[in-house]
Symmetry: C5
Subunit: 300 residues, 5 copies
């Protein structure tokens, strides 16, 4: 497979960029991103409560999954990587550079999530610690009073990542009082285009819904085409039935044109063994060209 | 033709500045700017929908046009140039440094669009990538709470561009709750004067309307004179009939004193071949001294 | 005992980090933090008034206690350390980098407490002065308009501390108009998780209350587990009966899983000799594995 | 005449500072400032309309006047100097560092006009271009939410100018919803004192009015005395009759103690020849000790 | 007398710090600060009007007093020192780094007064000019939306001053809509404690009033004790009878525990000779251990 190398990856970083992209996507150019940034984004809601196994309450649960399952990258905050990295140094990491809590409603204060550390900090950390850091991530909210700050940070982070041979994934969500329907397909395609204009390698987007509130691969196509050479990752969302999840994932990729997914709760809200299997199934469809049937076998 | 070299272009950059200006204007000192920054400014509205060919939904459509048609410069965001530049390295680029979405109404939050990257980033990128980057662009909104930030950024960007021998185009729009009529000729002339005070090479402005809401070349004259040595580019606007478009363009230049145009939708919202022809026709009038009749022949 | 060394402590700082952690926790990995930052946080309320001995009104009172009692670290502002440090150079210090007054209600202006100085300033100061500075502290308010600034500062301070072999303690409090119950156990567990995501060595948290408004070690367990490898310190709060205080402290550690406490008023609002005894009793339970009974003997 | 050299002009810049001050004031320590920053401050209102000659609409008109008339300095924005400087290199320039438009009413959003470029940029530009730049200017609005930013910028600009041997003129205007009468003499004297505290060489102020709304030299005396060693320049204002203008100017200087004037519209809103004569007449009174009668002869 | 040397004064600056402190306090560790920053803080109100001698309207009046009277330091803005310093080089100066005007009511916009220049600027200026600059000053408002910015600036300025061997005086005033009584003794003691936590050498505070609105030395004791090793300077306030002023000053020091005073209007609102005598009398009580009787003789 021929990979698209952004022109802002300098000559002496092209091989490391290619290596990162190839390894993260299993040479298929599709990314299975294990999303583990919810400890800030949703506080403890995703980790403790009814129908969630107690072991998920410890951050180490996610590291155990990421370490034992097949994944593209494990996306989480710097501090967690720092505290567990020495013991889990076989994980391909993606450092999620910003996060905010869910305490403030989006229509009360326009959302602003600022990068905690710089790409340069991450690059130095990777070198010093020897950890396998394949890229960085950043969430961008469109539509509020801080959009200009976030667009500027996003553009700078993508460029700095490329200059260092790292991948950059953007989470792009139109949000707030001026956004009526976050699952509107045309709006999501707009977000995809913003990701392309920012030069991101991948954008993680909401899934478009049709008028009945169901996922529509046709609507997704508008977004994946608008994204151009930037790959679209569909958001995993709240935990649902495994089969339903895998079927939709397959459809997203093969009918909707997505190039991967970002899944958290549907993986880590299971006991360790089940979580590993689910991750492997998702990985199979995303990065190993498996059918749903083949993937379901992995859950057995 | 003798070109006006700004005094802040240093001696060792005068020849590259001259080259950039001469090539971008075909030696005529008039600029045909192919505007391709709408993926952020208008999200996906300009690229997907009724009466828009499906191929326009892919960002590559614009690169194909820019690569195959005659244009002065192709103005788009850094990230898109980065993702497509290696495959489209014959295009004369102008990096549009800032962009904002259309999600927030101008009268709800005063508009602020911040530079995503610095001129220095662009200069390094041009050198490293070998791409033909002739200049930078920046949109400036007058009349709101962030006017001071944007004026400062604009002034700095013009000066940094000149120090590096690059052209700078400013998009200048009075906007927001204190601006009643964006097509008022006297107001547009004011915006033109701001562009001159900032030292821009070109300013892209709204087109002045008379009381009947029609373009008026007489009103435009106030602006083009007020702009002094800064060239006025008229905004292309929504897609209209080709002949009407070319006639107005001709009048803008030859009666209104404009020195070019910035056109996006009227070009890219067509299938590739037609889009190329339309770009060539616009270029002919702008930069090849063609008549409307001659230009229309290019559409055949 | 094996200590968890964060991966962002560079190789040449691991030994000093270990030394700081070991000494501050008496080799038990539990921290008795003597909190002395209230002169700003509560102005003079905690130091002068009914039932407070007059000597507490002088800042020197706290230095005398910290110098003569057994403590893990004495946490106070840089300026106080600067003015008393030459005469009290046997104290293990933790520089509290930010503080705000209590003049503005949390629901009137969203709280923002900014770092007064940088970790670099502290590192240089420690070297120049020879004082025993074991770490830095920072208060983070979640839930308001400045959350993004404070998260970014917190992340940066933790990382800078680690890069220099220093400990970092975060005080994390959800606050303001969007927070209904600061003693809600699930919310506190969320704050604990944020501390973990930031990579803090310790987080100082509010104590969770059950529906009757009483401390619950069961609720605390959610937080201490969610904090992962970051140790939870329970807030000391307003002065209460010694026995009650020590019993709750014991329960926090041995039933709730906390790894220490941050106590101010319950120590310094006593005459010097009594204050020293109380500090020693708290230290005994926290860092010397003492029972409540053993600790109470120290008060005699 | 002995000039007051500020103590922050370093020893190796004293001679250039003296030269700038002496030349700009014709050795009389009084400054005739030709104000040409209105293209931003008033948009196109001062340059196009009833009773304004068409030629004033081109920025070049001001450069022609400044080049052919006697003036102290021509104050205008960097960008205009950059675009016309190579052709008008005999003009003594003062770079007006900040400007804002008049689109936002002062009582709707507190005024903030930020420096577009730094003094360092100007110093490098002067050296590189060889232009005769004698100083810099900055407008400071007192009385609003951004007063602190503007005071800090003003102080820094004055100091940086002096460190480089340049003059600094401050335009100081109390403005906005908390200012009832901008022509109140006591308030203007306050503004004069602020200019002195900032160390400015000259402050351009509104003219004080008595209760009948007329200029009062007695009221002006309070301000010129309060300004100490900082010279007061009276604002020129809207265009009025020549004789009336010159008589008031004479009275400002000889009765009110002002040390010059800043005049724009009363000069450039005339055809070139008349404009040059008017400038010469103003210069004669300001910097050549002429009587009104002598000055009026120059208009013939 | 043994002076308290802050631990952040580096070894190679201890002797200059001691010299500055000793000279400024006449070896008595009490500071007579001649306050001359009102030209910005109160505009021209303190310098021109009924019962104020005309000569006070010129800034030079204060320099003449400071030059001829006995004072600890003369605190005024950098710009004034810059304009008069060459002619008044025998004055011990304290550069007041920030100031704001009184145009905006404290309950309309939360007060923010930003440092005009850095301590580094002052250090370079002192070296270059040879002027006797003993320290810097900064006003800190507690209780508003900008408290965090001002606390950070204050902490940084104290630390930078000490690193350079300079004194730092903080003016600390709780202000604004959340502060009901600026003369409340407990609140003032809180401000004193903030000054101590910031490490200031001296804090200038409001004078505490009892329920009858009169100064109370007993209330002042709470503040001077809370300030610890930071000396409290009482604000001079509006001009009152000499004897009354000196008696209160004596009581502040000998009963209230203050370590000096900051006086402006009670000195400069007198003709030169009287002003010098009053300054000398204040100095005698503050820094020469004089009785009120002895001080009153100096006024004869």
């Amino acid at each position: 497979m021929k990979f698209n190398i952004p022109a802002d990856v300098p000559a002496n970083k092209v091989s490391i960029y290619k290596k990162n992209l190839k390894e993260a996507t299993n040479g298929k150019n599709r990314l299975m991103l294990f999303a583990g940034d919810q400890k800030v984004e949703h506080l403890n809601n995703d980790f403790y409560g009814k129908d969630i196994p107690l072991e998920d309450n410890s951050p180490e649960h996610m590291f155990q999954i990421a370490s034992q399952a097949k994944i593209g990258v494990f996306a989480t905050q710097f501090g967690l990587i720092s505290r567990y990295g020495r013991d889990y140094n076989n994980i391909p990491y993606l450092v999620k550079l910003n996060s905010k809590t869910n305490l403030v409603p989006y229509d009360e204060i326009d959302p602003y999530s600022k990068a905690w550390l710089s790409v340069g900090d991450v690059v130095k950390f990777a070198k010093e610690s020897g950890l396998d850091i394949k890229g960085v991530g950043y969430t961008l909210y469109l539509g509020g009073a801080y959009e200009h700050e976030m667009l500027t940070q996003a553009a700078s982070i993508v460029h700095e990542a490329h200059k260092n041979g790292l991948l950059c994934v953007l989470w792009i969500y139109p949000k707030g009082r001026f956004v009526k329907d976050e699952h509107d397909g045309h709006l999501i395609a707009g977000a995809a285009g913003v990701g392309a204009a920012l030069g991101a390698d991948f954008v993680k987007l909401k899934v478009p819904f049709n008028k009945k509130g169901k996922f529509s691969s046709k609507l997704l196509r508008e977004a994946t085409m608008a994204a151009g050479r930037t790959g679209v990752l569909c958001e995993g969302g709240a935990k649902i039935d495994e089969k339903e999840f895998l079927e939709e994932l397959y459809e997203q990729i093969h009918k909707g044109g997505s190039r991967g997914n970002g899944t958290g709760r549907n993986i880590h809200q299971r006991p360790l063994k089940e979580a590993i299997k689910m991750a492997n199934a998702i990985y199979a469809i995303t990065a190993e060209d498996a059918t749903v049937k083949e993937a379901l076998k992995l859950l057995a």
